[in-house]
Symmetry: C2
Subunit: 284 residues, 2 copies
């Protein structure tokens, strides 16, 4: 596996593959790889001739009060894992390499506010602009035929799909199911921020989402379901941000004839901001 940190060697490697019409898959990550990432890498290996993993903790998607500096960085271990998985190329650029003029002088990709400023976008202003911009750059640099993203970050997945559709990017976006611990906690690098006591409570976020789906299916109203979920999370020791039921398609508020729904939740627990979601079909 090649470890590449600069743009020109990356573009040369990719060009050589493209000239031979080899199918390239990209798995964009912020590193600190866990089984969630590896499920993306393994699917990428299965479907493409060449697999590129990018590893970049993107400052543009972190707010000033967020955990950019604290975010776990484990390049050496990540590299070993990706060698074992048979990845062809690991692209791990420095911040200066992707933002040579600084973040304030960076051209931005801005997805419509109806998608990017709701839910996590409401509490993290500019977050999805940062995500869309860096993913757009990575798509241009790697020129993948397909790129894989985890469904744990469901809103992010939709933001990327929306950018790709709106800007006619020639890449297929594949979402992959959330990987969970045996007790239901969604894998996330941010779980490392949890104390032992918090870690014991953390799976309750997902359980609360599942319980809320049950209530909704049994006829409880949307506002009531959401209010109860927030109260339960607070009682458990979370500082909940939101729990909402939305349409899977575009995260719009569900209309009576929308059947493909999703419940999404975000809550702070100690130093960690946890998110999770579960898709479901409205009961007849």
């Amino acid at each position: 596996m090649e470890l590449i940190r600069e743009l020109i060697p990356l573009q040369s490697a990719v060009q050589a593959w493209r000239r031979r019409n080899q199918c390239i898959a990209l798995v964009p990550t912020m590193g600190n790889l866990h089984e969630g990432h590896l499920s993306l890498v393994r699917e990428a290996k299965r479907i493409a001739e060449r697999v590129v993993v990018s590893l970049f903790v993107n400052p543009l998607q972190f707010g000033p009060a967020e955990d950019f500096s604290a975010y776990p960085r484990t390049l050496a271990a990540d590299r070993e894992v990706l060698i074992t998985e048979g990845v062809d190329l690991l692209f791990a650029p420095a911040v200066q390499t992707l933002y040579p003029n600084g973040q304030a002088e960076q051209t931005l990709v801005v997805v419509p506010p109806s998608l990017s400023e709701i839910l996590c976008g409401a509490s993290r202003p500019g977050h999805f602009t940062g995500v869309a911009t860096v993913v757009c750059k990575l798509f241009h640099l790697v020129q993948p035929d397909i790129a894989l993203f985890g469904e744990k970050d469901f809103q992010q997945l939709l933001v990327i799909r929306r950018m790709v559709a709106d800007l006619n990017l020639p890449v297929i976006i594949q979402g992959m199911p959330t990987v969970r611990e045996p007790d239901g906690l969604a894998l996330s690098s941010r779980n490392a921020y949890l104390t032992e006591a918090e870690r014991a409570i953390a799976p309750e976020l997902y359980r609360t989402l599942l319980r809320s789906i049950d209530r909704f299916q049994q006829g409880d109203s949307l506002p009531s379901v959401e209010r109860k979920a927030l109260a339960e999370l607070e009682a458990l020791g979370f500082q909940p941000d939101y729990v909402q039921i939305r349409r899977q398609q575009d995260l719009g508020r569900p209309k009576p004839d929308d059947n493909a729904l999703i419940i999404l939740g975000a809550a702070r627990l100690g130093k960690a901001r946890l998110i999770d979601n579960q898709c479901f079909l409205r009961a007849e």
Copy 2:
């Protein structure tokens, strides 16, 4: 020459060329082709194996009070000319094809305000966001190796270069010199808006820029040169927007050791908003 209006046939045509590793040049236009456009097309033919011309009057780059509806549309004539020039493919999509969700729900490419909100960007809010967005879409659809733009729209050329650099787009941007009428008027589709009397005055915009360069080279100060130019244009019957001397590189205000300079001017004359510019080196 193929005339294509839809996305899928365009992508199929381009894919076939790319798979054979043929070099593709793109000339983006709003149609109503004149010798300025044709100089781009001829250079494209010279350097690339396949030439695509796009023809799209892009509503996203027009303000609500601007000339989107009035802009001259001459597809049949444009098509004949491009056949004669040996162009491979003319892409002329409908508005609905490029903006299926409407303009308000379109992902945007936003170049930094330091470049996009000065000069023409100051009097045309959102204009360069509209330009960058549609050109980004066209680059993804056509996947050109090289794209050609006229230097008459110098700020637009720099906006595109900036977008390409900041988003790492794999395309070379080539600027081409402004083509002029014998009396010096820069070719532009908007010249068609001029009455006979206005057409006789129109070349004075360029002459005023040249005269202003002389004054600057002879030691007149920047503010004085610019003030005199605006006064002269007004006396001639223009409604001047700006005349400014800037750095060629990024259109920043020139510092004493910047030598590669450009003078740019914009002025309304009757129904037409005319722009022009001239690059020059600071006299020793």
